[in-house]
């Protein structure tokens, strides 16, 4: 185990220069920002692809993109948004930036491993995008179900597999690092039940990453064998079994949903108490809810497969298990509402995004419980209802929290405040655009419009056009955000150490923080949410 804490500050390569963001840096804050910026660049690429999808779907016929290109675009959109934007940012970016502060450490447990994990991401992403230009990208969706994935252009599918393996490897290394840091690197005397909630969320997430991602890796290697060596694991034409792929795939990819939302649950638990000046309600129940979600999240995968010939007893089990997840999740939502209740709420950009998260996620959660019921699921399986549901979870939920977190921690990262009116404009455009884009898709799915098809029945035209207008608003919403981020970096109001008068440890140092986080010993924070209980200093 090595740590930068042995190095004097002057020996850290490129200290203080922006070039350090392009280097193999061992500083957890630099790695966190590397994750954040890289992830955002891929978000822009994925966003352009989403724009192409919505442009195509503005008319019922396939006119803007050919059917094959449309399939490539939707595959790449899903893969990039999940593996290169949400997972790296909500885990890698904020996890690396915040966790060492929260446990009172100078860096992560394995700084070198951390840098390796980050630097696996850019090549994997560039490789994935390059597959568009060398023989065509994969057309089998982000799920890569065989036998479809055996019929799509083999090179594109292999590049997809290789790059997802790289990203999965990066994710596992990151997960190991988080678990060890949270359990072993805590400041002496800091108890587990005194940790900020984001630590618990990342602990739970990392357990899921370590347990489930390797299964995906094994599965994808078998799929690669099917493509390259013509084995028949998942190829029914030569005696294979495609349903086994689905089981193994969802054994990772259902927990992957929690890998994307649990960290967001943690982040929102940090943001709400600060801006409503109240302690986080029900800390202990929050912790147990996270652990319950981790356990249940591992045993509900087959609810994605109710129409795959799944036997009735299995359907029953997975329906019940899935419905149970609503209980711990519901506990968390009531706790957040109770945190807000009677608080001195500051409705700034960070808070607006956090509150919108609650609204969006409840909608996505309710459709999730509906989808867990077999009779309903069979009706809407593989329709736009499912598309609407998971975008309410991963965009309305997680991406809203990513933006909320950027507004909340930007002053700490750069030392300057973001511009509030621009932030509000960003919020309004995103919130209206998002609901306009994905709200109508519930109706489309209920009425039978299938997903992943570039053409549709003309009766769906109006709703699709509303949805496309919403997508346009979402694209526009990126402009005020980008202007804000760049302008404020130079001209923003100087933030000071603790502009929000927050109590968690990252605010008890300068903005931006020094290389080893504190110039003295790490502060002992006994009550990270003690608003109204302990003195807060500006």
């Amino acid at each position: 185990m090595e740590s930068t804490s042995e190095l004097p500050v002057s020996l850290i390569p490129n200290h203080g220069s922006w070039l350090r963001y392009l280097s193999f840096s061992l500083d957890h804050k630099v790695v966190g920002i590397q994750y954040l910026v890289t992830g955002f660049l891929f978000y822009l690429v994925g966003g352009v692809l989403a724009g192409m999808i919505r442009t195509e779907l503005a008319t019922p016929i396939s006119d803007y993109l050919s059917r094959e290109v449309y399939n490539e675009v939707l595959t790449m959109h899903g893969t990039i948004m999940i593996f290169l934007w949400i997972v790296p940012v909500v885990n890698g970016a904020f996890g690396n930036y915040l966790i060492p502060f929260y446990v009172g450490a100078r860096d992560m447990a394995f700084p070198r491993l951390n840098a390796v994990a980050f630097w696996m991401i850019p090549p994997a992403g560039l490789l994935l995008i390059a597959s568009f230009f060398i023989g065509g990208a994969s057309q089998s969706g982000w799920t890569a179900y065989p036998p479809l994935s055996l019929r799509t252009p083999a090179l594109g599918q292999l590049i997809w597999i290789f790059s997802v393996l790289l990203l999965g490897g990066s994710s596992i290394l990151g997960g190991i690092n988080f678990i060890v840091t949270i359990l072993k690197l805590r400041r002496p005397g800091l108890k587990m039940m005194q940790l900020p909630m984001y630590c618990w969320a990342m602990l739970g997430t990392s357990i899921l990453v370590v347990l489930s991602t390797p299964v995906l890796a094994g599965t994808l290697v078998m799929l690669a064998f099917d493509i390259v060596a013509h084995t028949g694991f998942f190829n029914p034409a030569i005696g294979g079994n495609a349903v086994v792929y689905q089981h193994l795939f969802w054994f990772y990819s259902h927990p992957a949903v929690y890998i994307m939302v649990l960290p967001a649950f943690g982040l929102v638990s940090e943001i709400l108490p600060v801006h409503s000046r109240k302690p986080l309600f029900g800390y202990t129940t929050m912790v147990y809810s996270i652990l319950a979600i981790v356990f249940l999240g591992l045993i509900v995968w087959a609810h994605h497969m109710f129409t795959s010939g799944t036997p009735p007893w299995m359907r029953l089990f997975f329906t019940i298990a899935t419905s149970f997840i609503a209980v711990p999740t519901g506990i968390k939502f009531f706790n957040w509402l109770a945190t807000l209740w009677g608080g001195k709420i500051a409705l700034n950009s960070a808070m607006l995004f956090a509150c919108a998260f609650i609204v969006n996620f409840v909608l996505g959660g309710i459709t999730g419980v509906a989808l867990a019921q077999v009779p309903f699921d069979i009706h809407v399986h593989d329709t736009y209802f499912v598309v609407a549901h998971f975008h309410y979870i991963v965009y309305g939920g997680t991406v809203f929290i990513i933006f909320s977190s950027i507004y909340h921690w930007y002053p700490k990262i750069t030392g300057r405040m973001l511009n509030e009116p621009l932030g509000m404009l960003h919020f309004v455009l995103t919130f209206v655009g998002f609901n306009l884009c994905f709200g109508p898709q519930h109706w489309l799915g209920m009425n039978g419009m299938p997903r992943r098809v570039s053409e549709y029945d003309p009766q769906f035209t109006l709703m699709n056009q509303i949805s496309s207008v919403g997508a346009l608003l979402m694209a526009l919403s990126t402009l005020p955000f980008l202007i804000n981020v760049f302008h404020s970096a130079w001209r923003g109001r100087v933030a000071g150490n603790n502009p929000w008068r927050a109590l968690t440890p990252e605010w008890l140092t300068s903005s931006p923080p020094p290389v080893e986080n504190w110039n003295g010993p790490a502060p002992h924070v006994e009550h990270p949410y003690g608003y109204g209980l302990v003195e807060t200093t500006p």
């Binding site: 447990a109 394995f110 491993l113 596992i172 997960g175 190991i176 690092n177 678990i179 060890v180 359990l183 072993k184 370590v210 347990l211 489930s212 991602t213 390797p214 299964v215 890796a217 094994g218 599965t219 290697v221 078998m222 064998f225 060596a229 013509h230 084995t231 028949g232 694991f233 005696g239 294979g240 079994n241 086994v244 089981h247 193994l248 054994f251």
Partner: protein
Amino acid sequence: MFGLVLFLVGDGMTFAGLFAAYLTFRAVNPLPSGGVYDLELLLPTINTALLVISSFTFHRAARQLRQGSGFGCRLWLLITAALGAAFLASQMLEYFKLPFGLTANLFASTFYVLTGFHGLHVTLGVLMILIVWWQARAGGSINRESHFGLEAAELYWHFVDGIWVVLFGIIYLL
């Protein structure tokens, strides 16, 4: 060390996924006529014995180091590496003697991928032992006071052995 344990948990999950796939294939998909599950048991049994013994020899090497005998440690490490290499050679021999190839049927494919993936782990393990062996030379970075590398390699090696025992039970005996 805790980090390594977590890594091995993850690695074990990869094997668990492959085992689950194998068992499901076996339960659900009948083999085409001419395919058999029964394998020659002599070589694999010898292989199992080789690996199990090598776990004990590795343990012995670690104990020698703690007792201050660098020479004994290196000797037992070399024996362990030789046992691992013998396992790999014998595995290759078995591959050549088998009547089916990778793409013959579902069982054949799963067999080769599972044993091959395990063989890859053994290969890495043998390389790791040789590296540790080199570091344990007089004046090397592994000595009585500092022996994290040795312990890490030992844990990994026991893990690989344990996986083999499960694999042997599921593929050869079942």
